[in-house]
Amino acid sequence: MAVAVRVQDLKKVYASRNGDPVHALDRVNLIAQDGEFVSILGPSGCGKSTLLRIVAGLIPASGGDIFVQEHRVKGPNPNVGMVFQSAVLLHWRTVMENILLPIEIRREKVDQYRERAMDLVRLTGLEGFENRAPYELSGGMQQRVSICRALITNPSLLLLDEPFGALDAFTRDQMNVELLRIWRGESSASSARENKRPTILFITHSITESVFLSDRVAVMSFRPSSIIKTFDIPFARPRDLSVITKPEFGELVLEIRSHITVE
């Protein structure tokens, strides 16, 4: 299997207000295989988002090497889709127009992507809402729109930065199940178009969420942050919420918790 993301000895140093260096990330090593779902788990302020933004090419690293599909990251990569904690939708556009935004940015013909956009709308359960304005939608539905927008370009890598962190617990559980369904559905529904299931890097501070979703969970330490341990998640797919009640699930969550340090 090919390697989708390779992070080697990544360092990030900020200058603090009084000029002292702040070591946000120190020798971070991470590998994600093609089509793998990897969660990066850690306490707030441990630099998870910084790591994701460096992989996305939004901010430069201070040291180390980052490769996406064997290409060194030098800046934003059109093969990467991003989803943030807030849906960041454009309020003056309809749901459909929001989903097609990346196509406009690429200056490609929007009409050629309408069908694919409708596929995604159906897949995410947004059917009937494609011509609504984003502010008419609930928080969970807005986040579905932003997932569609990230998927419209068939990215090989999906970066999700606490995408369900702002949702209530019930909606969050539901969105986790949906995300797995969309991720798997993406690959089967589009197999005719020879799309591969995208690799996912998922940032979260919820242990349960990370264990439920991932193939592997990478635990980050507090500053200077690095990945201290990686856990393989053995549960078979497709998973539903009942997996959470298994004793092995609870044991794994406890085991991971013992490795998390706060400040």
Partner: protein, 281 residues
């Protein structure tokens, strides 16, 4: 109540609820017309009876209702002067919009531009612009030009500041999202910054409109042979307080008219703003 809603009659109950809700809303709408009218009528009454009770001479304070016959006696004169002031105001405002928007774009486009321009713009607001009105007369004479320039100098500031705020209003996540799609700086402006700046621009415009009118009138105070500001000065010199009040009334109508045009345009151009502000999550 819950028993009713779950029972087969619930349709009727719902209809009844909706009807009473609509009645409440209609009542609220009535209130929003009746209450302001009440306060306005109250103000006029207090004014009127104050004049009668204290037996104020007309050159101190005319009776409020005597203002309207004053206007009706020679409406074409008021119209002529109002036209001049309106022209100066709109010219000053137009100049403010053009300059304000261009400056705002330059400031947000480049950090160096911001460092170069911002202190200058802020400094230009720290001295009272009415103070340079006499200079304007020396430089540009008694015509329309000095009034337009004063009007512009007063009105452009809120337009620049608000448009800058608007162009900078997208949160960092939004900008990161655009950059992650490999959007160019021009695309970030076209797709995100400009649409988001529209409502801010309009709130700047609404402040600017009233200030532009102030600028035109101040310009006319200093030296003019026409315009509503000139008319007020002329009325003052003749102790014709009734004429001064009549002119003030026309100015008020003019200002309100301009303000409502801006508000109307805002609702036409940026309807999403109101709606999204109400339900933003």
């Amino acid at each position: 109540m819950s028993r009713l809603i779950n029972s087969p009659e619930s349709d009727d109950t719902t209809r009844e609820l909706l009807r009473s809700q609509r009645a409440t809303e209609a009542g609220d709408r009535m209130k929003s017309i009746v209450l302001p009218t009440l306060s306005f009528v109250g103000f006029i009454l207090i004014w009127h009876f104050a004049v009668v009770y204290f037996d104020l001479p007309v050159y101190i304070l005319p009776r409020p209702l005597s203002i309207f016959p004053e206007i009706a006696r020679r409406p074409e004169m008021f119209l002529r002067h109002a036209w001049v002031t309106l022209f100066e105001t709109l010219a000053g405002l137009g100049l403010s919009i053009a300059t304000g928007v261009i400056l705002a774009f330059m400031i947000v486009w480049s950090d160096n531009m911001e460092k170069m321009l911002m202190p200058f713009i802020v400094l230009s607001q720290t001295f009272p612009k009415t103070a340079i009105a006499p200079l304007m007369i020396i430089w540009f004479g008694y015509g329309y030009l000095p009034k337009i320039i004063i009007s512009f100098l007063i009105a452009f500031f809120p337009i620049v500041i608000n448009t800058v705020l608007g162009l900078k209003s997208p949160k960092s996540d939004m900008i990161d999202l655009m950059r992650s799609m490999s959007a160019t700086k021009a695309q970030v402006f076209a797709k995100v910054r400009i649409p988001m700046a529209v409502p801010y621009f309009f709130s700047g415009l609404k402040i600017g409109i009233t200030l532009a009118l102030v600028g035109a009138v101040v310009g006319e105070f200093v030296g003019a042979d026409s315009g509503l500001g000139f008319l007020i000065m002329a009325a003052n010199n003749q102790f014709n307080t009734r004429l001064a009040f009549a002119t003030l009334f026309v100015l008020m109508i003019l200002g309100a008219f301009l303000y409502f045009i801006a508000e109307f345009l805002e609702r036409r151009v940026a309807p999403w703003f109101e709606a999204s502000r109400r339900t933003d999550k």
